[in-house]
């Protein structure tokens, strides 16, 4: 059972990684800057999940805090870019 659980968690890790890569494809293709920021927003959400995966596989709780801080900062970043696009910054 423990073996199977590990396999499923690893599969989930790779599926999330694939999601990040697909987001990155949209990030590269654009075409407008708004598309790129939208892609970045989705990528950060996948990134949070991936950091927690790293914490889980490494068994290190400190990475959960890293994910928490990353969530805070990426939210601020996306808001700042949105404001900038609107011309309000």
């Amino acid at each position: 059972m423990a073996e199977l659980t590990h396999v499923i968690f690893t599969a989930a890790l790779y599926v999330s990684l694939l999601a990040l890569v697909l987001g990155f494809v949209r990030f590269l293709r654009g075409p407008s800057s708004a598309d790129r920021v939208v892609a970045l927003d989705i990528m950060t959400t996948c990134g949070i999940a991936l950091i927690v995966f790293i914490a889980f596989f490494g068994g290190r709780a400190i990475y959960v805090d890293v994910a928490l801080v990353y969530a805070l900062l990426s939210f601020l970043g996306v808001i700042a870019v949105g404001r900038y696009l609107e011309g309000g910054l």
Partner: protein, 112 residues
């Protein structure tokens, strides 16, 4: 056993993350991309983190805080981005049937 259930929830969550990213690729304009992206990835990350939290109960509280934070911030950031896109005049796809916001902006200037 409980770790096994957690792993299944986690896998379901990662599939939703993938579907959100796929929507990001397939949809024709910014607005539809954001729709697909925000919804599916919010549920996806929620399930992924909960699955790990079930397998690792010591972290559950912190992961729950992370989940609540994602649940609160994801719609806000999507709203800000879409508003900025509409403000900049990013075109809606040809399939679009109606744009009431643009009509109102042309009619009466911008209120806010």
């Amino acid at each position: 056993m409980i770790a096994f259930i957690g792993s299944l929830i986690c896998l379901a969550g990662s599939v939703f993350l993938l579907l959100g990213a796929l929507g990001l690729l397939r949809m024709p304009d910014v607005y539809n991309r954001m729709q697909a992206g925000t919804k599916a990835t919010t549920l996806g990350s929620l399930l992924t983190l909960l699955g790990i939290g079930i397998a690792q109960p010591a972290w559950l509280l912190k992961l729950l805080i992370l989940v609540i934070f994602i649940l609160l911030t994801n719609p806000i950031s999507s709203n800000v981005l879409v508003r900025a896109a509409h403000f900049k005049g990013v075109k809606l796809t040809e399939k679009t049937v109606r744009d009431n916001l643009k009509d109102d902006q042309e009619k009466g200037g911008d209120g806010d």
